[in-house]
């Protein structure tokens, strides 16, 4: 495979044209982890959910935590790509493609974790045949499938110009690949009219997806919030989950962008300035997350209702204290210290903080889901939950398959939206200059009043 096109874009197509041995090593490692996870799931399927650490009263465990976490991760894409498109943040451009891919590849694991958690996955279609909209699970099924479908289209529309470039600029490609590019490009020629249409569609989709981000994660939280379980039944749980999701998603994007930058030598495209912008964003979300945490626990503590206080105590001082306080350290203390300081707000610093945030947010989901279940209202005694190797293997398998899909995706289309970067040079910069001028006295606005 060869790249024949403008020299300036060569670096963006390099990952497709050239694949080093490290990539195959990574692939092999990921496949091994996926096989481990699949074998654990096969064991669970044949023996029953008894192979997990779940029990009565802890009827939910790691799978439900993964469900919430992956759905949260999926918000990275829409957030960077859609919300920043709406507000016109130009620094989004090198991130959009990777972000949308995070959404697309993490969502199936969010939905999939629910299926893994089912006692009878073979009866899944009952949800459609007998679906009851009184149940928050049905709200989730609706919202998540709509979100998955919309994200798929959003991802694909933004892909069309780049697929067309692949079709035109890549030479000596296999017949399959050639067919694939031709098919996906939908006869794109790159005319101004086509770009204008694409931008209109993308702007509408961006609004729609932003609305879905809010709906989806609120509804995810309502699985918990709508029950009368102490620790879950709070009005703040919707916005709290949403902030946490965007927080973890944006942090995940920092990690992925840093890996892509290093592995595919994209230093010229993804620059420290981009990481600084994303870091400030993550820092703001860290503060917002902490504010919600304080608001939530202060209300419970001051209210001092016995049923709620046993859960509060379990998190603050008892068996969940280490997970809870580690969450606070990883999601608040570390990000504020690293990202709040200009000297440590480097790419390395941002990546360290982001890894911490993602571990912390997974733990946060854990300390929302599990402690409440260990404290039944009637005096049955305290529930204990210890995840088994099967649960960890399936979890690892999900993360590995996510990484695997992402890695393969980098070999099919450019990981940076080539057309969006070009658009910045050709259209956005002159537009921004005009806009800036119009802010100040003495000039007539070039754009509509």
């Amino acid at each position: 495979m060869r790249y024949e096109g403008p020299r300036e874009d060569a670096a963006l197509f390099q990952p497709i044209v050239h694949t080093g041995w490290r990539f195959y090593v990574l692939l092999a490692a990921l496949v091994i982890v996926v096989i481990w996870g699949v074998s654990a799931y096969y064991r669970q399927l044949s023996l029953g959910l008894g192979v997990t650490g779940m029990n009565r009263p802890v009827f939910m465990g790691v799978y439900i935590v993964n469900f919430v976490f992956f759905i949260g991760l999926s918000h990275a894409g829409t957030l960077i790509s859609a919300i920043l498109r709406i507000v016109g943040a130009e620094w989004r451009r090198p991130f959009t493609r990777a972000a949308e891919a995070v959404t697309l590849f993490s969502l199936p694991f969010g939905a999939g974790s629910i299926i893994i958690d089912l006692g009878r996955p073979d009866r899944l279609l009952n949800v459609i045949q007998y679906g009851s909209f009184r149940s928050p699970i049905l709200w989730d099924v609706t919202a998540v499938s709509l979100y998955l479908l919309s994200s798929l289209f959003y991802f694909y529309f933004a892909l069309i110009p780049d697929v067309a470039m692949c079709r035109d600029r890549l030479q000596d490609v296999s017949t399959f690949r050639k067919r694939l590019y031709e098919l996906l490009a939908l006869g794109w020629t790159g005319s101004g009219q086509q770009y204008r249409r694409l931008n209109v569609v993308m702007n509408i989709m961006a609004l729609w997806l932003t609305m879905l981000v809010v709906t989806v994660h609120t509804v995810v939280s309502w699985i918990f919030g709508m029950t009368i379980v102490p620790g879950w039944h709070t009005a703040i749980i919707g916005p709290y989950f949403l902030v946490g999701a965007i927080f973890a998603g944006a942090a995940a994007l920092i990690i992925i962008a840093a890996i892509l930058r290093k592995a595919y030598h994209l230093e010229n495209y993804i620059k420290p300035v981009h990481f600084r912008a994303l870091s400030s964003f993550v820092l703001a979300l860290s503060l917002a997350w902490f504010y919600f945490t304080v608001a939530e626990f202060m209300t419970v503590y001051y209210g001092d209702e016995p049923a709620h206080m046993v859960v509060f105590n379990a998190k603050f001082w008892e068996e969940f204290a280490s997970a809870f306080w580690l969450t606070v350290v990883l999601c608040f203390v570390v990000p504020v210290v690293i990202l709040g300081n200009p000297f440590t707000r480097t790419i390395t610093g941002a990546v360290i903080a982001s890894v911490g945030i993602n571990v912390g947010m997974w733990l946060e989901r854990y300390t929302v889901v599990v402690p409440s279940l260990t404290r039944p209202r009637l005096p049955y005694g305290i529930g204990v939950y210890r995840p088994t190797w099967e649960e960890w293997a399936i979890t690892a398998g999900c993360f590995a398959l996510f990484a695997l899909l992402f890695a393969l995706f980098t070999k099919v289309v450019p990981v940076i939206a080539v057309w969006e970067v070009h658009e910045a040079k050709e259209l956005a910069i002159p537009e921004a200059v005009e806009r800036l001028k119009s802010y100040f006295p003495g000039t007539v606005s070039a754009t509509r009043e």
Partner: protein, 242 residues
């Protein structure tokens, strides 16, 4: 239309657990290995909750037999995504075995902990496997689905039915004989009630003002579990030491 309920007199209850055992046998509840039971995996549609307060010598132990509360406003029914659990016309909260997808959301939503999950394929050691109750559940068409003592597959949720199959059977027999079910026949109808050596349990129609359960429910000793949650249980307890 009757509205089935139960009264449990805690003053009479000796916490002997005969009700628990009778329920296990009547409803073909699967056996749990001791290590599984230690994990909290044993199934007891009818359980006796033990609550010990204080330290020796000032100890107070409370025993509360706990079947499903068959709430008028059941939190479990609301959350079921496939309507596998439902409240029937006579107020019984039942579980359709053939429809449940095993998400366990109902088990989480129930504040009384009366819902149980089949973590494995059900099994019984010898000779218990020879002693299963051959009775079938009520015909699916009469109660809208399969429930009762019929063997459950792994991966679904099950719960107390107030022995709905015994109710259907008794009703059928009464119909054949051209009679109505009497309050006397109903009082001891569920297996737990029939077995209770202290006669501490009563079953019957809460909408019939003359029924035993209705009269007992008016007692000044009457109370319900977690009444302030608004679930409106149809199991009424009579306070001990009254």
């Amino acid at each position: 239309m009757p509205r089935w309920g139960m009264v449990i007199d805690l003053d009479k209850c000796t916490a002997c657990q005969a009700c628990t055992v009778a329920c296990l046998a009547e409803n073909n509840v699967p056996w749990a290995e001791p290590e599984e039971a230690a994990l909290g995996r044993a199934i007891f549609w009818q359980d006796v909750i033990t609550d010990v307060e204080g330290e020796y010598p000032r100890v107070r132990a409370r025993f509360t037999p706990r079947p499903c509360q068959h709430c008028e406003e059941p939190p479990c029914v609301k959350v079921c995504p496939v309507r596998a659990t439902y409240k029937d016309e006579e107020g019984l909260v039942l579980q359709r075995y053939e429809r449940c997808i095993g998400c366990r959301y109902c088990a989480v939503a129930c504040p009384y902990g009366v819902r149980y999950f089949n973590w494995y394929e059900p099994q019984w050691p010898e000779p218990l496997d020879q002693l299963l109750n051959p009775d079938e559940g009520p015909p699916p068409e009469t109660r809208g689905g399969r429930s009762g003592p019929e063997i459950r597959p792994k991966g679904i949720v099950e719960k107390c039915t107030f022995c709905v199959h015994r109710l259907e059977k008794a009703r059928h027999e009464a119909e054949e004989a051209g009679k109505d079910l009497t309050d006397e026949e109903l009082v001891l109808l569920p297996a737990c009630n029939q077995t209770c050596p202290a006669s501490a349990r009563y079953f019957g129609d809460l909408d019939d003002p003359e029924s035993t359960v209705s009269r007992l429910a008016e007692s000044s000793r009457a109370f319900k579990l977690l009444e302030d949650l608004g679930t409106e249980p149809k199991v009424i307890y009579l306070k001990a030491g009254g």
